[in-house]
Symmetry: C2
Subunit: 228 residues, 2 copies
DNA sequence: ACCTGAACACCGTTCAAGT
DNA sequence: ACCTGAACACCGTTCAAGT
């Protein structure tokens, strides 16, 4: 909980902490704070303490706490790798999905900021292009291409939310808890639930992700070959 | 669910605030508060004020604010209609998905509590049975049935998150904002983004929901006919 | 232009005291 | 068994004042 070292925290700000204040430096430190302690541990005051600065100084660079959280989300989203040049429909959707997931899982505790906030800005426009372009090239009319894009995106958001929420501490799912859950499910008296209980009690995120992604991409690629 | 204890009296509730304190009454009022002002407007103190009670009285019925939010989520989830008896794979998944969506959209501001929290409890076990059962009957081995279930669930969570987050005020998407967005997209210089811009700038949630759901259910139903 | 500190109007929760 | 109020250790943000 409290820092182990009992340093005098209220004296002079440590000037070693990386230079002058700036929006960029604030966001970087904020992301680090989220990584370490989670989103709800973020406060303007705590962040300022980490930066060795008065809480109010942050407001010279960021409008509000809400804008701070949006800013963190944008930082994370901007870490999406630049798309590789040309590929077919299957490859490009597959790559986009995998990179999106990998990028979020690098910061599992911050990921919900991207997954649950309506980002007004237009970050990640080139990854968008990288998916839309092969859809159009494959024969999708623009309206259906957008539907296809949004379907995959919804699936990604849903699976990732499950991944990062179930294990916010990043510990593998507690085998103790999963054993108890298995027992509960088997006591439910519902036949289908009971026979699927061993699989309901655990969740291999990797496998889960692949299963649904495969279905979506296969179907969308197949649909491209059919008249719309 | 649990049989309510004998009430001291029937008839008119005392005072203006509607009777004695209870977990049930607290959760009902909390859901109303979320409906009116949103999740982040919820505080123990404000909730107590609405109930005409000291803030600390709430703690006789609820462990913490976090437990309160979990409780609201469970109330909402328990509003899922009981599944209709027997149906084929397509119908039962379709019905489950539609009812889940409808239930969430009745409380759009509270829905994120269900969509983003890891609910430990086993609410909604019978809807689960109602989906798993036809999957098994259609020939899915239990492990794949669970994959199929989770894929649809991920999609539902993702689409619904988009629906309730984009319009938390429940106003239809601002046409002004969407016109500006269109302009931005068309100025992006990215060819696919530009030609899909009119469709990216708006989002018909109904249509969007149907598109992805159709793909998933069709594919899962078709897969049932194939050897695993 | 940027930073500061006091101040305001809030929080969740502990605790001791009441009935 | 339930309710209360004071108290503690926090919040986000406004404002006036400093450099």
């Amino acid at each position: 909980m409290t820092p182990t070292a009992a340093k005098p925290r209220r004296g002079r700000p440590p000037k070693d902490s990386g230079g002058v204040l700036s929006r960029e430096r604030i966001l970087r430190e904020a992301l680090a704070l989220v990584d370490e302690e989670g989103i709800e541990a973020v406060s303007m005051r705590k962040l300022a303490r980490r930066l060795g600065v008065d809480p109010m100084s942050l407001y010279n660079h960021i409008d509000s706490k809400d804008a701070l959280l949006d800013g963190i989300a944008e930082v994370l989203l901007s870490r999406l790798p630049a798309p590789s040049p040309a590929a077919d429909l299957r490859d490009s959707m597959d790559t986009m999905a995998r990179e999106f997931r990998a990028t979020m899982l690098e910061h599992p505790r911050a990921a919900p900021l991207v997954l649950t906030r309506k980002l007004a800005s237009l970050t990640a426009l080139t990854p968008l292009e990288a998916v839309l372009s092969p859809l159009l090239a494959a024969g999708y009319p623009p309206d259906l291409a957008v539907h296809a894009l949004r379907t995959v995106l919804a699936y990604l958001i849903g699976t990732l939310m499950r991944e990062v929420n179930v294990a916010p501490t990043f510990s593998v799912a507690n085998p103790e808890a999963s054993r108890r859950r298995l027992a509960d499910l088997e006591a439910s008296g519902l036949p289908a639930v009971m026979s699927a209980a061993p699989y309901l009690a655990v969740c291999d995120h990797e496998q889960e992700f692949e299963f649904g992604l495969r279905i979506l991409i296969d179907t969308l690629a197949t649909m491209a070959a059919q008249p719309h």
